[in-house]
Symmetry: C2
Subunit: 527 residues, 2 copies
């Protein structure tokens, strides 16, 4: 059994604190030293990805102390306990098994009377069979016509992750001939969301995926009703157009309202569910089950790297350690993810949920308040767009915001133009290379308005091309990074009690059981 201790009680953390200010990026990233770091400060990931941390405020001494911290905090041992079925989500008394949706990392895990890996594979296979039947016309609408669009109805983890993954692979799939159906998403309880999506959808040829683990998510059930109205108006039988992704114990599981139901369970948190049936149904329908399987393989391969005790061979653990160093020792309150890939346009929004919902906590896993900052604010937009937007603050603002770049050598579609001697893809990559050095080294200028102090840390993940495997590996990397950071902060990264109070009060407002400020705001908003 591992020991769960607060970060600030660890000797290695106290030693790490002494490193503050020891690495000046403007010096170490210049000249030969910078070249050496760029070559050597990198860790291979799965699927030919590389995590390069040359432009982070670390050197061999800091890395040694980070390694000691990883060991004292028993990070890999805790991961091992997790994938072998320990109750890591203590707040909700649950196992944490999202990694198992894509592979068997350790011992078989039995829960709810079944082998869980078998259960997840079974769901994946059931979805594959269903998707194949939709694609080959065995499952059609009442008129015997093929479905052409899949619409996911879900919110939070049932929306952001699958939507980001869909957008990430849409053009790749179109280029590679595996594109099967358009996917759309309805999430917000704002009635204009569902109304607009439905207005642009040929509902007669659409299959709807209702995603709710509990089967009680108010937004999702409300939007289901919206969809059913639209189908009824079109003279269609809703039960022939809808499938459910839910838990086996939910009211949706055995309802005749759905063509089929596919299952997840309590061991898959919403924000970790892209590789479960939650992502599986919509992505298998959109791109075919083979593409979804490749995505899972990439994630599984990356999970394997997270088992390594050597921080130079465990990119997620190293990324996590550096992030904690930046947050707790260097004192940076926010972080940004900047993919130089338009296909990853919503990947930062997914990571925003993944990270902030997992680690935005003030009590440790035993319910005791912690005395140190935990999860940072995370935001991001694709480069080069962000360069023309908020990078001004990142370069010259008064706060330092650590950066996480992502870039690929090759585009997905392959169509390109050469202007001023270079293709767009080369320009894209040149920009990210330039940004790393600009942020780290800065540039002195006598006009202080044009002066760049530098000293702004970044890392970069570099890949060959964004495809199903690399996307899976990327996703797993960040999931595992967040998990390791939760271990370091000694918090439970797998519950989300902070979302409850708002729900309770919203119900009171709708029941008109309010007083004080809540009553006044209800009136002001005409509720």
């Amino acid at each position: 059994m591992t020991n769960w201790k607060n970060l600030d009680t660890l000797d290695s953390y106290k030693a790490l604190k002494a490193c503050k200010g020891s690495v000046d990026l403007t010096t170490v990233m210049a000249g030969e030293s910078g070249a050496d770091r760029a070559k050597n400060y990198s860790v291979p990931m799965a699927e030919k990805l590389t995590y390069n941390f040359a432009a982070k405020e670390v050197d061999d001494t800091v890395l040694e102390k980070l390694a000691a911290l990883a060991k004292e905090a028993e990070l890999v041992d805790k991961f091992q306990e997790l994938y072998n079925g320990a109750v890591i989500n203590t707040g909700e008394n649950r196992l944490v098994l999202h990694q198992m949706t894509r592979g068997q990392l350790g011992e078989p895990v039995k829960a709810d009377g079944v082998d869980k890996r078998t259960f997840y594979v079974e769901q994946q296979n059931r979805i594959a069979e269903f998707a194949n039947k939709v694609h080959n016309g065995e499952i059609t609408n009442a008129a015997g016509e093929k479905f052409t669009t899949v619409v996911q109805i879900g919110i939070g983890g049932s929306d952001l992750g699958p939507r980001a993954m869909y957008l990430a692979l849409e053009n790749w799939a179109k280029k590679n001939g595996t594109f099967k159906m358009d996917a759309k998403f309805i999430s917000n309880v704002d009635p204009d969301d569902a109304a607009a999506v439905l207005a642009s959808t040929d509902v007669a040829h659409a299959i709807f995926v209702l995603v709710s683990k509990s089967g009680t998510t108010l937004e999702t059930l409300t939007n289901e009703s919206f969809v059913k109205d639209a189908l009824a108006k079109a003279g269609l039988d809703a039960s022939k157009h809808m499938i459910a992704v839910t838990s086996e114990t939910s009211p949706l599981a055995k309802s005749d309202d759905y063509l089929a139901a596919f299952f997840m369970d309590d061991y898959i948190g919403g924000r970790y569910s892209s590789t479960s049936a939650v992502g599986g149904a919509v992505l298998s329908l959109a791109f075919g089950p083979d593409v979804f399987a490749r995505f899972l393989n990439g994630a599984a391969a990356e999970d394997e790297t997270a088992k390594n005790t050597d921080i130079r061979k465990n990119p997620a653990m190293l990324d996590a350690l550096i992030g904690v160093y930046e947050r707790n020792v260097l004192g940076y309150p926010a972080t940004t993810v900047l993919p130089y890939s338009q296909a990853l346009s919503r990947f930062p929004a997914h990571l925003q949920q993944l990270d902030m919902e997992s680690n935005g906590k003030s009590v440790n896993r035993f319910g005791e308040p912690v005395d140190y900052p935990t999860g940072p604010v995370l935001f991001g937009e694709p480069g080069t767009n962000g360069q023309h937007s908020f990078y001004q603050l990142l370069h010259q603002g008064t706060d330092i915001v650590p950066l996480q770049f992502i870039a690929f050598k090759n585009s997905q579609i392959g169509t390109d133009v050469e202007i001023q001697g270079s293709t767009s893809q080369k320009k894209l990559c040149a920009n990210v290379a330039a940004q790393i050095v600009a942020f780290a080294c800065g540039k002195k200028d006598e006009n202080s308005n044009k002066n760049f102090k530098g000293g702004r840390p970044s890392s970069i993940i570099i890949g060959e091309q964004l495809d199903p495997e690399t996307l899976g590996a990327l996703l797993a990397h960040f999931e595992n990074k967040v998990m390791f950071q939760g271990f370091l902060w000694n918090i439970n990264s797998f519950d989300q009690e902070g979302v409850q109070l708002g729900k309770v009060l919203a119900k009171k407002v709708l029941a008109h059981e309010t007083d004080g400020a809540l009553k006044v705001f209800s009136d002001l908003l005409n509720i």
Copy 2:
């Protein structure tokens, strides 16, 4: 003439610092006190919008000190100087006239030998005439067929603002019969961006708007070339499908490559250009010139409120003051904008640029380093989606992040369903009301994991419906807030020198004129 002084040299700021911790939201927002605040701590905006700051950490004493700060910093006088044509953008030696694109706030301003208001109105009228001809079929493609889609090619301010405004009004226009053409946007230098947009566009019936003030923005010219290739491949004459929005001195201004050119000038910063020809061309084509004129009217009406010296009658100034109090006195490093409106899905991305690019500066307007934090990190996503994502950190994280809500009593489309006794629109509004109180008051729980400390400040802008006027007013509110904050921090909010270094280094990479780390990264990225 006004005096430009650093924030920390102002007596009223020193007095304000003494207020730190004087307002405990969990107390003042409870019971009758909370009801009183919710009723009274509100300021009318234009277009029936209201700015409510009941849940901010202010009371009458703090407000008094904020008013003194507004006066000592001469905020309204500085605004007056700005709109009367002073060189407020000192770094670039330019006037700042974006407000004049929508109205005459003060004296006539003459520059470049012309009356600038006349110039902006003329451009608006030229665009209106052009758009009307496109809509009524006087301007068509070579085959005499009507254009059905407008595609904006631009990046940064030429993309984020117009795109956010288009999305904000798309459903409103469809519902209200003013929708004329689909709009699409190409921005990123990532070749997959242009390739994907073009693949989904019927180029034979598309009109492209090339937007670049200088006519030299590399991303934009590269993407223009992409578009020209696509048009050529389709056997079409590009010059019959493209218009330019640029400055009169740019190489694009008089080129035969465009059907027409519409003009902005150096006094309109990119991030402030949505109400200029930059937003005007695409929005007038998409929704008709009348809708664009209504949008401008809303902005102009809101600008008028920013002239008021009374902080209780000047919502942008009050919002700015409270923001500076939170940033500099209370020490909160990030802020979030949360529109409870799916139509505003990209409004936070626009504000992220507007705010972070304007005020992410470390030197004052005289080029001297400032000793206090300036612009914060800003991020946001629509509610209720965010509730199921990053709100966990906002409620229970270790840092306090001030919140800015936006909500409307009515939806845009009006289609709705009643579930559990309430419509989706009521649920949407109930949620935002609930969140304000949940964040402010919190809720004690013996299980510390379920405990909500509260004390998390928010404001809300409430409107009747998101329509062209309210959107214009909202936009102007935030532009003016950012301007007033820049005045308080004594920085130049209208240049962006921080984006230059990256551009310079990217060119070196493309020219293979690199060494050290930049050379290694260039190789790693296969450039």
